[in-house]
């Protein structure tokens, strides 16, 4: 019992450290990658190839004045950035980076990830409400509407691998794919569309372009983060990155076979797949335009949800068939 506790604590610290480091790298990677997508160079001055840019950004944000609006709800205003980061980080606990490297391989891992991921809605709305700013409040309400809507297709698409492998445990799901095929390869007619829905819903959950309506710069200044400055803003930003990284890792585990792959240790494959998914999120982000709010809702309820239901049914039939 205590062994398991020690092991859990060790991996928790390890994973938090790794994820935070990865977040810093993600900041650099996004700037570099976005630049290359637009045939620019991106940061080049701070460190080799601008590698120290995240450090410089952090130092800059630390120097900024920490402003709390006069009529804001101070307690909530100060609390929610931490909550957002914690909720995003919490989901990382069950991600299986390799058969052994996992903080806690819960029996209900998939459920846990989706639940903790959905919790991020609360701090986001709290930030919008506590800011006492109409733009922040509008952003917060949009975020709630969007996240709750996309919770449904996300859940439905995540159910497909669960049904196919017969387990809610992420480790077992990956092991099933390692023993047979990745779900995106076989049955591809179920796996590929389910993966597509998962990717879209994940983008929407993470408030990423083309679904960044809650912080649409041209309409809402910066959405819920309008009133946030300095370190609190940085934490919000970090939460968003962590959310994207963890969601990429979960997507890789659910559909892309997780740690399964030839020649290299499982950890390498998992990191590679997560990275590729993460990169494609930014690829989409820097290529597409923003949806309108009603288009977003229509896409969700009229296309993704029915498609998800059909896929779940198809997966169930597939499993029952010999």
């Amino acid at each position: 019992m205590s062994d398991e506790l020690v092991r859990g604590a060790f991996y928790s610290v390890l994973i938090v450290t790794v994820v935070l480091t990865a977040t810093a790298m993600a900041l650099w990677f996004e700037r570099k990658f976005a630049a290359r997508l637009q045939t620019r160079l991106g940061p080049t001055m701070v460190g080799p190839s601008g590698l120290l840019q995240p450090v410089a950004d952090l130092l800059k944000l630390l120097q900024k004045e920490d402003i709390v609006p006069e009529r804001a709800d101070r307690k909530i205003f100060n609390l929610v950035p931490l909550l957002a980061a914690l909720a995003a980080l919490g989901a990382a606990a069950v991600v299986p980076f390799s058969p052994s490297v996992v903080a806690s391989d819960l029996d209900v891992g998939v459920l846990y990830v989706l639940a903790v991921g959905a919790v991020t809605v609360i701090p986001v709305f709290g930030a919008g409400w506590a800011s006492n700013n109409k733009l922040a409040l509008l952003g917060g309400m949009r975020a709630v509407a969007q996240s709750i809507s996309y919770e449904v297709p996300l859940l439905l698409s995540a159910m497909v691998p669960v049904i196919l492998s017969g387990s809610l445990r992420l480790g077992t799901i990956v092991q099933t794919q390692a023993d047979h095929h990745w779900f995106i390869v076989w049955p591809f007619f179920i796996g590929v569309p389910a993966f597509g829905i998962f990717l879209l819903a994940m983008l929407a959950e993470a408030n990423r372009i083309p679904f960044d309506i809650p912080e649409a710069e041209s309409e809402l200044v910066a959405g819920v983060t309008t009133e946030y400055t300095g370190m609190k803003f940085a934490i919000f930003l970090m939460a968003e990155y962590i959310h994207t990284i963890v969601a990429s890792a979960v997507g890789a585990a659910l559909f892309l076979g997780g740690w399964d792959g030839p020649f290299r240790p499982g950890l390498h494959w998992m990191v590679l797949k997560t990275f590729l998914l993460f990169a494609s999120v930014y690829w989409i982000r820097w290529s597409l335009l923003r949806f309108r709010a009603d288009q977003l809702m229509r896409l969700c309820w009229r296309y993704l949800v029915p498609a998800g239901v059909i896929l779940v049914a198809a997966a169930a039939v597939w499993v029952v068939l010999p």
Binding site: F33, A35, L37, T39, R40, L41, W283, W286, S287, L299
Partner: protein, 339 residues
């Protein structure tokens, strides 16, 4: 929705393709792109070949500057320590780059090519006062900075329409028959017994008048009349513009008084020799007055020899339908030589 996905796919393909292209960014401080041939940024004041300051303090650049960044203290005429001739000087010359719009008009009007722009690309400074170019800085720039493409001679030369190849050196009879297209503006002039008056009258308002005038009996006046107006854009502004038409209309007396810069220029050999174009035109702008007034006006001042020179040359000159800065300068030189 369908069309959205098609567009989205194309957008994704475009950005994906971009990743494998070479970035277009030029990393400025370390890599500096080659400047265009006529790139210009700062200013410099020049010296003559003999070491005298080229600026004669005529204030034309100060007058034409649209943002009024040039302020000159004209020193008046005094004897040049080098050439021993009397000429104007600028006692102080300040150009404030803070408000400069880099239009280069000051360079274009300079009758002595004294002010030019430089190619030195970087202008940033730590304070506004660093961008105020004092006379000392301007003369220092002459040595330390690379000159831009244009000076007044060169820029004015560009405004001259290209010469037709034929008839440039033809005798007096031909020009009447073979002027360029501009001849239409003054068809009556050549036959007239006193073309001087006629062409003198047309001058102020017709942009390219009386190319045929030289055929008349008093070629001196005719050539004088054609010249100032035909190198039109440059000379009109470069010369003591407003004064030039006045003597033509008024007759004898205005000539010496109204054109001090002209006489100054023709009086000192140096600037004229060094800067053939505008100086020449300025000199020639002095001639019409003497021409219109006849020989009587020519007496008192330097325009007279210029007029005399013009009378010698017109046979060859007028044939060129658009006497350029070059043509004007040749007249000026001839006048110089005659004097």
């Amino acid at each position: 929705m369908k069309s959205y996905f098609a567009t989205a796919a194309r957008a994704l393909a475009t950005t994906f393709h971009n990743v494998f292209r070479k970035p277009v960014t030029v990393e400025f401080p370390t890599v500096i792109r080659p400047r265009a041939e006529r790139y210009r940024s700062s200013f410099a004041l020049l010296h003559e070949e003999d070491g005298d300051e080229a600026c004669i303090g005529c204030l034309q650049c100060e007058r034409i500057c649209p943002s009024q960044v040039i302020s000159i203290k004209a020193g008046g005429k005094r004897e040049s320590p080098i050439s021993r001739k009397k000429r104007g000087y600028a006692d102080d010359f300040v150009l404030d780059l803070n408000a400069c719009i880099y239009c280069e008009l000051c360079v274009q009007v300079c009758p002595t090519d004294a002010i030019v722009m430089t190619r030195e690309p970087e202008l940033p400074a730590y304070g506004r006062e660093d961008l105020v170019l004092t006379m000392a800085k301007l003369y220092a720039n002459e040595k330390s900075k690379q000159r831009a493409w244009g000076d007044a001679t060169r820029l004015n030369g560009m405004q001259v329409p290209p010469k037709p190849p034929a008839a440039a050196k033809a005798p007096a009879a031909t020009p009447a028959a073979s002027p360029s297209g501009a001849a239409a503006s003054a068809p009556a002039a050549p036959a007239g017994p006193s073309p001087a008056a006629a062409s003198g009258a047309t001058k102020p308002n017709s942009p390219a008048p009386a190319p045929a005038a030289p055929a008349g009996p008093s070629p001196a006046a005719a050539s004088g009349a054609t010249k100032p107006s035909s190198p039109a854009p440059a000379a009109a502004s470069a010369a003591p513009g407003p004064s030039a038409p006045a003597p033509a209309a008024g007759g004898a007396q205005p000539a010496p008084t109204s054109t001090p810069p002209a006489s100054t220029v023709s009086g000192s050999t140096a600037p004229v020799a060094a800067t053939t174009g505008p100086a020449g035109t300025t000199a020639s702008s002095g001639t019409p007055s003497s021409g219109t007034a006849g020989a009587s006006a020519a007496g008192p001042s330097s325009p007279a020899p210029a007029g005399g020179g013009a009378s010698a040359t017109p046979t060859s000159e007028p044939a060129s339908p658009a006497p350029a800065a070059g043509a004007g300068s040749s007249t000026g030189k001839t006048g110089e030589g005659a004097s």
